[in-house]
Amino acid sequence: MSTLTANKKSTRFTENGIFPSNEVMLDLKQLKKVYPTPKGDYVVLEDLNLQIKKEEFVTIIGHSGCGKTTMLSMIAGLNSISGGNISVLGKHIKGPGPDRGGIFQAPSLMPWMTSLQNVMLGVNQVFPHATKAQRYDIAKYYLQKVGLEDAFHKKAGDLSQGMQQRVGIARAFAIKPKVLLLDEPFGMLDSLTRGELQDTLIEIWNKEKITAVMITHDVDEAIFLADRVIMMTSGPKAKIGDVLQIDFERPRTRKAVLEHDDYYEYRKHLIDFLEH
């Protein structure tokens, strides 16, 4: 396909050559996480080293319970660090901040507010300099992007799980964080909706030049979205087992990616890691 060539040197922004950026956005050094239990300490993560460049899209796969979510919540600043450190643009993190936005498995919405109000909650925080009309436009734009144009004024508590999840996605997209942390955000959606939201995610990532770290169970999703796929070993003492560089040119179309000669090689590599 024309959008993909056999050229192995991936360039994300061919016209200005910004990517790959060499600036390190996120730096995880010797990261360790210990949960104390009555039977002694349980070491979830140990010796975990990972550098994520500015504007990179990284996906993380691994078995349930391997500590992926623990790692992501530590990056978000929601979970304490037992050893090592995490820095954003060279500065050690000390807690959560609006520079790191998250979408988690379960949507955390205010059930008594409408879906529009829930998104506005975030938008009002980060766009204080915009007019009210502009802020509403931002919220409505992203709600429509996730397919909720008919549910602006429905209360979050009245929406189905899948729809609530989409409100959460719209809210995280709308605030355009520097680093977007995604913990299996599309896991509970059907594959068609999942595909649409993946496209929306890539569109926003590309336009806003954000750095994205996403946990997923879906091997195809991991390949389609990422510059690099990080494979985590099973816990306890989970660390990075393997890294797969995805050298498809961007922008990617699903069709072109599927028909690329390397696609099923990548897929095999990841499934092999997960099955053994």
């Binding site: 915009a130 605030i175 520097k178 594959s191 897929r267």
Partner: protein
Amino acid sequence: MAYLELNNIYKTYGQGDHATEVLSNINLSIEEGEFVAIVGFTGSGKTTLVNLINGLLEPTKGEILFKGEPIQGSSHERGVIFQNYSLLPWLTVGQNVFMAVKEAFPKKSKEELNELVAEYIEMVSLTPAINKYPKELSGGMRQRVAVARALAMKPEMIIMDEPLGALDALTRGNLQDEILNIWGKDKRTALLITNDMDEGIYMADRIIPLRPGPNATLAPEFKIDIERPRDKTKMNDNLNFKETRNAIIEYLMDIGNERKSEAKEAFVLPDIRPKDFVYQFK
């Protein structure tokens, strides 16, 4: 003669102005010993279709023939595995399965029935949990009980309605293999309804997409010509697998695009940057 045959099935819910046609013009024929998967999206009418086949619902129009005879109500000839397990919470694992086999084989002695229960519980590796109650089990274990219960009745046909949808990837893979083993050993006929296309490719002989409702109807089928037993890793080297998989994905993507093109007025995103928090906090 086909084993299961659906001829021009229509299903409408509601009446008059409020009528919604969920399924229209469904034609399907499954041969004995075949494994067929129907892949559909949320809200496309999958569960309605399953309930028509297992006899819990009646079609508005058309007929369903099982071994040449019209279906009348549910029967243990067609065993169903539901998405939500449907176990009785006040019965243990063993009792849940026992109740089903007693219904299916009223003439067998208690000892024979207990043997059957033990055999199928062993098959899904739940022997240590035979005296536990459903609430003491994980989701994956509960679904195993449901699988054992459905199969212990030795149904001639196994009907599965997104049986593994709620499970994590690893448990899901294991149960897929268990179901395939049992299907292969007893040469049953199987119908799997799923929203996971890869599950369909791994398990089935044929995949038939269900076009989304209202007026959902079956799309042309895809034959899965891959030797059994199949290997999830090695399949990625199989040319046939790649081509079939890509064809199915493209077909489903086209359905998605059709749906998207019906979108209404578009909102315009104002060109405005978020407040720069990183520098503010420095």
